[in-house]
Amino acid sequence: MRRKPADVLRQFVALSRRSTLAIFRQPALVGPSLIFPLFFAALGSSSFSRAISLPGFPEVDSYLQFTLAGTVIQGVLFGSVTGAAALATDIEEGFFDRLLAAPTSRTSILFGRLAGSAVFGAMQALVFLLALLPFGVTVEAGVLGYVSIVVAGFVIAFAVGALMSVVALKTGSAEAVQGTFPVLFILLFLSSAFFPRETMSGAYRRVADFNPISYMVEGQRSLSLDGISLVAMSQTLVIPLTLAVLTTMLALRQLSVRLAAR
């Protein structure tokens, strides 16, 4: 029996609501992914204030202005682990079985979880933009720039959430998902999130050149420092969207593998 699209949509909305509520009902879990990026931004601002005069650094009023994009991406990357860990917890504790025992659309289970992460990612981006506003950190591209960065937060969280969901679906272990956190951390530091690629050299530079996080950060940074441009918009939105498509395909494949193995 095929499910009606309207029923599938209703299930997706209900499961998305559940995962979004879960995020906002666990302040101890989500707090760090809001606070730490701002803490890093403050720390960087005081420690690297003179780094902005290095050759290769763009012209900026402050390091804080430069690091806005890195702060947004950092927060969203870390926050998106939460949703995948929740999916693993559902598997571990049997809520996943409860959903499977009902005539639930299997993809809704996955997309419902990812929607929660994505909403949180957008909210994080908005919080960081607003939190840094009183310190003179603005987005040169105006309203469209602000909206693009928030939308990017949504899409990046979805993409990374899908990638982490592969781990959740493969292992069914929240600990395994949390264990991938250092990988994200390393990837972030091997990108241009905190320093421009122009200031890097050797292997560090080569890794940063291949790291998609570099391009996402630079897109947002360009919107923030230079204003609107086709390249900046593409980097801000198209790269995350492409990643989201790829990681979602991987997650759906892993979901099929998990269901087939039952």
Binding site: M1, R10, L21, F95, D97, A101, A102, P103, T104, R262
Partner: protein
């Protein structure tokens, strides 16, 4: 075609070399409460997971509510209610929110959802706790909510996997009463349990499962009758154990018992107890404790499997 709500034929599930369920045949009739009795690891939950479409059989077939559990899994899901022992309830949501979510999953129209959720909360006595997060619920409240969740779409067949494990006696009684009420209203119930009393009290028929195979099946009263004689249990000191065994063996077949206790199926029943006591006295055996038990499901279990049901003696007694 047989129209029974649950039919399993040679249903098996193997995990590598382990035959968790080893080719069971089962028919549960309309309006029955069917008890699946066995110790932990006997295959009860694996069987239920296959019948509820959560696990694919390695071989054999099963039809539930008239549909094949593999080929028509979604139709089976629409017609059954499932409350699994190890299926957690999201602690971050309220009882009402969970019922709403469950209603959406089963396609209940939005305009009927609220009323249905409220009715079920009232039914299981959780109206006052409806807007509290599940993390604040006691074990008994969670089980009652679990039952309500499984009833959201008024299923024709209800699966309850170890519904009272870990509950206090009062909560067990409340849940039993609710299961009986549902059954009176026409719901066919299949419940798994490791508690003899639960199977005895609730089930119209039971199947005893051990090492993945059904070893006995029938009405509890009929099964108990097949064991026949009551069991005489005695405790003696260790040095008298062999001598006591020899005396008891003259009065019937020795039966498996807990360690430190000797049991015999007493031929001739209660009238022969005095005779046994005299024989033990003549053999200079000091009896520390003696009791005569009428045949129970545990005796049926012991007779069928050669061992007592693990944990049966530890089950909290209700009533």
């Amino acid at each position: 075609m047989n129209s029974a709500p649950i039919i399993a034929e040679q249903l098996a599930r193997h995990f590598g070399e382990v035959k968790a369920v080893d080719g069971i045949n089962l028919t549960v009739n309309q309006g029955e409460i069917f008890g699946f009795l066995g110790p932990n690891g006997a295959g009860k939950s694996t069987a239920v997971r296959m019948l509820t479409t959560l696990l694919r059989p390695t071989s054999g077939t099963a039809r539930v509510a008239g549909f094949d559990v593999v080929k028509q899994a979604d139709e089976v899901r629409r017609n059954i209610g499932v409350a699994l022992q190890d299926s957690a309830i999201d602690p971050l949501m309220t009882g009402f929110e969970l019922l709403e979510l469950q209603a959406v999953l089963y396609g209940i129209p939005s305009n009927k959802m609220k009323q249905r959720a409220e009715d079920l909360l009232e039914r299981v006595g959780l109206t006052a706790a409806a807007d509290r997060r599940v993390s604040t619920y006691s074990g008994g409240m969670r089980r009652r909510l679990d039952l309500a969740l499984s009833l959201i779409h008024a299923p024709v067949v209800l699966f309850l996997d170890e519904p009272t494990t870990g509950l206090d006696p009062m909560s067990r009684l409340t849940l039993w009463e609710e299961v009986r009420r549902l059954n009176r209203e026409g719901t066919t119930v299949m419940l798994t349990t490791q508690y003899l009393e639960e199977a005895d009290q609730l089930a119209d028929r039971i199947a005893i499962i051990d090492h993945g195979r059904i070893v006995r099946e029938g009405k509890p009263s009929d099964l108990k009758r097949t064991v026949g004689d009551p069991t005489l249990l005695i405790n003696v000191s260790r040095q008298h154990s062999d001598a006591a065994k020899a005396v008891l063996a003259r009065f019937g077949d020795m039966r498996p018992t807990a360690e430190g206790t000797l049991g015999v199926g007493l031929k001739g029943g209660a009238e022969r107890v005095a005779e046994v006591v005299r024989a033990l006295d003549e053999a200079k055996i000091v009896v520390e404790h003696l009791e005569l038990n009428q045949p129970s499901l545990d005796d049926v279990f012991a007779e069928a499997t050669g061992h007592r049901l693990e944990g049966a003696d530890n089950a909290p007694q209700a009533g």
